[in-house]
Amino acid sequence: MDAAGKEVLKVLTEILERKNNAGVYRGWLKFWNRNWERWLYAMHRITGVGVGIYLVAHIWETSYSATAFLDVSNGGSPVVWTNLMSFLSNEFFHTGLLLVALASVFHALNGVRLIFAEQGLMIGKVKPPTFPMIPSSLKGGQRYFGIAIVIISFILLVYAFYQLFIIGLGW
């Protein structure tokens, strides 16, 4: 790197230092010493990105085989689809589907929790400040709903495992 590049890097570093924003890592993902809702917040982001990536891959995979299926000049047979499905039917890809199932259920149910909270529901009621001053929003019904969401997600994960591995792969 030449002198001008180093100078630009130094100025940018100084701006970042001075701004002191926590950023994605310290702000979004460093949640292990935080409250339960912050865990759900981080998981909601992670599962959202994961399901989003899966959707793009899924649309590409389906459109790829559908195009081949509809291409009459190439036979128009379901062979491409069948080949693709047999390629994807193994422990590696089914583990991925298992994670997608977990992420989808969690993300959807947690979205419902957030919709309720944004309507002012399940976050307790305003109260005068009395010791020990535990915020009502962090001990309201939404907290128990959040715990229930995690439990339901893992119960449905067991069902997805049964479908994907016991039925799908014949374990």
Binding site: T13, Y25, N33, E37, G120, P129, M133, P135, L138
Partner: protein, 297 residues
Amino acid sequence: MGNEDHSHFSGGLTLTENDHGSEQSALSESTGNEQSTVKLRVFRYKNLPKDDTSAPSTSFDTFQVPISNGTTLLDALIYVKEKLDPTLTFRYSCRMGICGSCGVNANGKEKLACKTQVKDLGENIEVRPLNNLSLIRDLTVDFKPFIEKNVKVKPYLVRNDVDVDGGFNREFRQTPDELNQYLMFANCLMCGLCYSACPTNATDELYLGPQALARAYRYIADSRDGGQLERIEIVDQEHAAWSCHFAGSCSDVCPKGVDPAFAIQQLKALALRKQGLLKRKKPSPLVERPRESVNPV
């Protein structure tokens, strides 16, 4: 003091680490309590002149600090400043959780240094400045944007039906129940802990932040206020109430039990489906008699 440099890499910034002497002191001379020592790893920042390339502007310094029962994090920082390194810079004033000046990030969580017992933090304590506010020096951050955002939500009673300027000497009626609707939010110290803990503030500089939004709700919930529709217009925006995703960390770290997460969700509910209720709301009337202690102009 033996200095030992180690290279670190944290958050994209190159940091250095200096280890300061472990000399014991007479901190507990007057207390007579059982004494132990903690390792205080403190973030340092110097706003160097542009032509000064002698040292990096950020680093961590480690100090051995003797503590006893009742030693607060602020006591430990003052000990460092008085005995080990007088250049260490941090804010404090009242030392009893009233002024909200001594907010820091201790072991990854925002705390008021004067209200935090060192023994609750373990033997190794990392102290950083509050996040999401520009650094000035060491643990001192610039509160200017924080204050400006607070001012944006009109943090005062708005009355268009009464002239409250000049020699105004009357009070508005308010029942105890009406007082309890906002009293908790009126306890805000403006210490900035919620602003630092908020994950939205971490990546969105335009976001008003939990403090300003809770302050907006405090006045909207006040029966004496008549400016609720003006404030709803301010908070019903992308970089205001709707950027909150209910992580709840603001309420979790608040040293005075204020619940900004609750306030922001209420603001969303008001913006969505209760604006008609706000339009019909009449601010509370004046009392019949003027206050005797105030002389009308």
